[in-house]
């Protein structure tokens, strides 16, 4: 099987085009973050600023209580991750491996949660949390995401692929159900777990909508809100400062991607336990 060079060339060109489409906004953001305000507004646009304005980052960081935002973001994302795993794992195991009354009903209920957009239910959830008096606290940002229907679904699929004999062998080996989960199921589901962790991390680290609804002051505000508010400081929008803030926001995600790249690719091509 030899591919003719012409196909290779077309293929290569296509990939480059795709890369440009995906990377352009990002490069634009990175480039703008280093510009002076004047440079952001010139036409035709400049790609490489004359001098790199490292000061933009300091300015962005110091234009609000960013340490507080950052800290809130870390706590919220981390707690969501922990709570999600604590709820997803046993739920997925039960759905995949046990028979109990109304199992199908409960699973259907979980699937319905997957289909309802959060914009539809944010009001009742907001009112509920408000009646608990946890608006403007990080718990208001964490609790609504303490579990994930998508996570339950994905992990259940993965757990279902483990052959029954493996569990039976483990039961003969005196393993408790928790040991079976920890020592057999989770190691086999590792690629799925990594995927779920990444999705959850990205979604909640970047989440703008929910913190916007839930917070009215800085006590529980997270980074995306802080960055968005950069636009309003000093009257007009200083795009260079906003972009510097954005770059700071996505930096942790980039770092995680960099280290987990191998797992991410595996997670997406992951087909089954063999």
């Amino acid at each position: 099987m030899k591919t003719p060079p012409i196909f290779k060339a077309v293929n290569g060109l296509g990939l480059i085009l795709l890369f440009i489409i995906f990377a352009m906004p990002f490069i634009w953001m990175a480039s703008t973050a280093f510009k002076t305000l004047g440079e952001t507004l010139t036409f035709p646009p400049v790609w490489i600023p004359e001098t790199f304005q490292w000061g933009n980052f300091a300015q962005a960081w110091s234009s609000g209580p960013f340490l507080k935002y950052f800290f809130n973001s870390v706590i919220v994302t981390l707690f969501i991750l922990i709570l999600q795993f604590a709820t997803i794992i046993p739920a997925a195991y039960a759905f995949a491996r046990y028979n109990f009354p109304m199992k199908n009903f409960f699973f259907a209920l979980t699937m319905i949660c997957l289909m309802i957009p959060s914009q539809l239910i944010f009001l009742p959830v907001y009112l509920n949390l408000s009646s608990w008096g946890i608006l403007d606290t990080i718990w208001g940002l964490i609790l609504p995401f303490a579990t994930s229907a998508f996570g339950i679904f994905l992990l259940r699929q993965s757990f279902m692929q483990v052959p029954e004999e493996l569990l039976e062998a483990a039961r003969l080996d005196d393993a408790t159900e928790w040991q079976i989960i920890r020592k057999i199921m989770l190691p086999l589901a590792k690629p799925v777990l990594v995927t779920l962790a990444l999705f959850s991390f990205i979604a909640h680290w970047n989440d703008y909508f929910w913190p916007l609804v839930m917070t009215t002051n800085d006590t529980a505000r997270t980074l995306p809100l802080g960055i968005a508010m950069l636009r309003q400081v000093e009257g007009g929008a200083s795009w260079n400062i906003v972009m510097a803030g954005n770059l700071l926001l996505v930096l942790p995600i980039l770092i995680v991607f960099f280290f987990a790249q191998r797992h991410i690719i595996r997670a997406f091509v992951y087909t089954g336990v063999k």
């Binding site: 039976e168 062998a169 483990a170 005196d174 020592k183």
Partner: protein, 359 residues
């Protein structure tokens, strides 16, 4: 070591009864083989024995313990699965050690046990490999080691050799027999392969459609099959069985109750010329097919009685030739109307022969 008793065991999945009122005693220290065609309920019986399935009716005793309500790990058994069911994310050592750790066996003792068992099954140099780096035979040994290390009272093996190639299977068969002798533990072994059953078991239980057909030593099953199913299941090719009317022209004085008559392919003779031996049915036959296996030949022939298999150890006859098949009367095996082993065949010819003192 322990005797196993199944008392009136039945199992139904939904309305479907797959095991029907089975009562069995498996002798302490025996190598008992459950054999039967695929889907006859062998695995279901094993799984009830192990406690993974609950019987619909009946009691199971292991030793002097009624185990009906005991969880699998409390039954003092170990199981080897058909697909080995090794823990894929653990090393060989981890696989063997898992059960010991869970039983809180102290680390030093664990180490000692693992080394000992690994030595027995020849895995010492593979202890740190993951199962996917092992060959089929090695995985099989890991599965055995994992079962052995717990020193169970009963070993349960569900078609453990069926994933191996023919050569390795023969080798592992011998190793399993030796292992059984060395351990002296009760082995309950499931297979659909009658050769495996005959060569390994000291007791064979033949099953069909959830019912025990016969339980006996291999040689007994071969020589005195309990019914037509057992007769046709054991032996390669299977026993030739015909309705009595097929013998109308060739036999006299067949008792009324013998509704079917059979004989084993290897008990009939085949030659190119008629030999006319007394007390023998001789049939001019046409050879339909011939399988030459070296030491032996298997013929498919057609004659007045019907189409039958003949197994012969003499030099093969030419294909499509006319030949003569001879079946000694004493090798005929009768079955009753219910297909169970039938009444004594008091053939008149046989009596005559006895009178003449030729027999």
């Amino acid at each position: 070591m322990a005797e196993i008793r199944l008392e009136n065991i039945s199992k139904a999945f939904n309305e479907d009864r797959v095991v029907k009122n089975i009562s069995l005693t498996i002798k302490e220290g025996s190598f008992t083989v459950l054999v039967g065609p695929s889907g006859c309920g062998k695995s279901t019986i094993l799984r009830m024995l192990a406690g993974f399935e609950k019987q619909t009716e009946g009691d199971i005793w292991i030793g002097d313990k009624l185990v009906n309500d005991l969880s699998p790990s409390k039954r003092d058994i170990a199981m080897v699965f058909q697909n080995y069911a090794l823990y894929p994310t653990m090393t060989v050592k981890g696989n063997i050690e898992f059960g010991l750790t869970n039983r809180k066996v102290p680390k030093k003792e664990r180490q000692q046990l693992i080394e000992e068992i690994a030595g027995i099954v020849g895995l010492t140099e593979h202890l740190n490999k993951k199962p996917d780096k092992l060959s089929g035979g090695q995985r099989q040994r890991v599965a055995l080691a994992r079962a052995m290390v717990k020193k169970p009272k009963v070993f349960i093996l569900d078609e453990p050799l069926s994933n191996l190639d023919a050569k390795l299977r023969t080798q592992m068969r011998a190793e399993l027999i030796q292992l059984h002798e060395k351990l002296g533990t009760t082995f309950v072994y499931v297979t659909h392969d009658q050769v495996e059953a005959m060569s390994m078991g000291d007791e064979i239980i033949i099953l069909n459609q959830g019912v025990v057909q016969q339980k006996a030593a291999p040689i007994e099953v071969y020589e005195n099959p309990g019914n037509i199913f057992a007769a046709e299941f054991i032996g390669q090719p299977p026993m030739n069985v015909f309705e009595r009317k097929a013998f109308a022209e060739t036999l006299e004085g067949v008792p009324e109750e013998a509704h079917y008559i059979g004989f084993r392919p290897e008990h009939a003779g085949i030659s190119s010329a008629a030999v006319s031996v007394p007390h023998t049915i001789e049939l001019e036959s046409e050879i339909l097919a011939l399988e030459t296996l070296g030491a032996e030949s298997i013929y498919k022939v057609k004659n007045r009685i019907g189409v039958m298999n003949i197994r012969s150890f003499s030099a093969p006859l030419p294909k499509h030739a006319i030949c003569f098949v001879s079946i000694p009367h004493e090798k005929l095996y009768p079955f009753g109307a219910d297909k169970a082993a039938g009444p004594e065949l008091n053939l008149s010819v046989k009596k005559e022969a006895a009178l003449n003192g030729i027999d």
